[in-house]
C-alpha cells in the first residue's frame, strides 16, 4: 500500500478559502461577525479531535456565577525585571533587533487596571526553550522568552524583547509559522480570560498560516497584528510597536455599570 501523498500548502490554502467563502456568504445573509476563531477549523489539523461537537451551554442571568469574578495578582507575583526579556540572563540575547511593545489592555468598556499580562515566544532563530521543540535552530543561552507585567492604571503594559524568528511546524508539508508572540491575559472576571498571539505587520507568511487564518473574519484577524509606532522606537536600541488588546465576556463590575 502506498502512503497517502503529503498534505501540501495548496491543499491547506484551498480548505481555508472554502471556509472563508462560506463565512462571507453567511455574513452577506446577515450573520453577525465572528470575532473569535471556530474551535473546529480543519486546516489546523490539531483542532480535529480537540473541539466539542455539542453546542456550548449558555450561562446567563446568574448574577452569582463564580466566573463573573476572577483571580487577582499583585506586585508579589511579578518582579521588576519581568517586562524585559533581554535582561534575564548574564549576557546579551542574540537578536536581529530589540523591540519595544507598548499598548493597553481594556475591557470592551473601561481600561483593565492591575491585571496580569504574560507573554512567551521563540528566540531570534525561531526556537522555543522547550525540550519538545526539536527544530534545528540554535537555543540562545541568554534568552528564555518569558515575560510578565501588571497593567497600569490606564490599562497600559510595556515589554522589551527581541523579534522572534519564523519557524517550521508539521501541520502540513513546508508549513511555517509567521513570527508571533504568545499572550495570556486576565481581566476583572474569569469570563474575560484570553490567550492569543500577536503578529508583526507585513509578514509574508500570514496568508499561509492556518492558525492566524483560523480567525476567518478579516477585520478580526487584523486586530492580531501590532502597528509600528516610531514614537516608541529608541535611538540605536529598539523598534517600537503598539498592540491594544480588548477583552470580552461579562464581569460583575461591568454588569453593575449597566451593560
Amino acid at each position: 500500500m502506498t502512503p497517502p501523498p503529503p498534505l501540501t500548502q495548496s491543499d491547506i490554502d484551498g480548505e481555508i478559502a472554502g471556509i472563508r467563502t462560506g463565512y462571507e456568504k453567511a455574513r452577506a445573509a446577515g450573520a453577525p461577525a465572528a470575532h473569535h476563531p471556530p474551535r473546529d477549523f480543519p486546516p489546523y489539523r490539531s483542532s480535529l479531535l480537540r473541539h466539542p461537537k455539542q453546542p456550548l451551554v449558555a450561562v446567563d442571568g446568574d448574577p452569582e456565577a463564580v466566573e463573573l469574578s476572577g483571580p487577582v495578582f499583585g506586585h508579589t507575583d511579578v518582579t521588576e525585571l519581568d517586562h524585559d526579556l533581554t535582561r534575564q540572563h548574564a549576557g546579551r540575547s542574540a537578536r536581529r533587533a530589540h523591540h519595544r511593545l507598548r499598548a493597553a489592555a481594556r475591557q470592551r468598556g473601561p481600561a483593565e487596571r492591575g491585571q496580569l499580562v504574560e507573554l512567551w515566544q521563540a528566540n531570534a532563530s525561531g526556537r522555543y526553550a522547550h525540550q519538545r521543540d526539536q527544530h534545528p535552530a540554535p537555543l540562545d543561552p541568554n534568552f528564555t522568552g518569558v515575560g510578565r507585567v501588571l497593567t497600569g492604571d490606564d490599562g497600559s503594559y510595556s515589554f522589551t524583547t527581541i523579534k522572534p524568528g519564523a519557524y517550521p511546524w508539521r501541520n502540513h508539508e513546508n508549513a511555517w509559522r509567521p513570527a508571533h508572540i504568545h499572550f495570556s491575559l486576565f481581566g476583572s472576571a474569569f469570563t474575560q480570560r484570553l490567550v492569543t498571539q500577536m503578529y508583526f505587520p507585513g509578514d509574508p507568511l500570514f496568508a499561509y498560516d492556518p492558525i492566524l487564518q483560523s480567525v476567518t473574519d478579516e477585520a478580526a484577524r487584523a486586530r492580531l497584528v501590532a502597528a509600528y509606532d516610531h514614537s516608541l522606537s529608541r535611538p540605536e536600541q529598539s523598534l517600537g510597536y503598539r498592540w491594544d488588546i480588548v477583552l470580552d465576556g461579562p464581569s460583575a463590575t461591568w454588569i453593575e455599570e449597566g451593560r
Binding site: 455539542q54 483571580p71 518569558v146 504568545h182 495570556s184 474569569f190 490567550v195 498571539q197
Partner: protein, 189 residues
Amino acid sequence: MPSLPPTPSHTVGPFYGYALPFPGGGDIAPAGHPDALTLHGYVYDGAGEPVPDAIVEFWQAGPDGSLAGAPGSMRRDPVTGGFLGRNGVDFTGFGRVPTDADGHYTVRTLPPGAPSPVPYISVCVFARGLTHHLFTRAYLADGPDALLASLAPERRATLIALPEPDRDRTHRFDIRLQGEEETVFLDFG
C-alpha cells in the same frame, strides 16, 4: 463609549510549558490544611486518547464564600526571579496545572463556600489544537442548581466530580473534549 470589538483568541500552542506553569500551581489549599481536598482527572480527545499538552486553570470561591481572591498565586523571589510558592495563609482561589504525559492533572484545594448552594470549581481548559479555551465546572456534589437542572441526565453527569470511594477527600473530574460523554462546556456570552 461604543463597545470595541474584542481581540480574537488563538491556541496556546504546544510550547507554553516554560512560561505558564509555575511551581505549586495546583496547591491552592495552604499546606497541611485539615479541610483540603484533592480534585484530579484526565483530559481526553475525541479518539479517547489522553491529552498530554493541555493546561487547566481553576477559579473558585474561598471556604467562606468570598470571591475576592488574593494575590500571591505565583509569588516571586526578588533575588533570583524564581517562584516562592504561596504564602501559606492567603487563599488565592486560583490554580493552574499542565497535564502530564498521561493527560492527568491534580489540584489540592479547599471546598468552596456559598454563594452557590451546590459548590463548584470553575475550570478553563487550554490546549494545542484548541483555538479558543473552554470553560466548564466541577461540581463537588450533585444538588439543586440552575445549570445542572437545565441538562439532560447524561450531560449533567459530566459536570459532577464525585468523591472516590477508595480515596480520602478525593474527587475525580475527567474532561472529554469531544465524542462520547463529551463534557458540558459553557458560554458566558
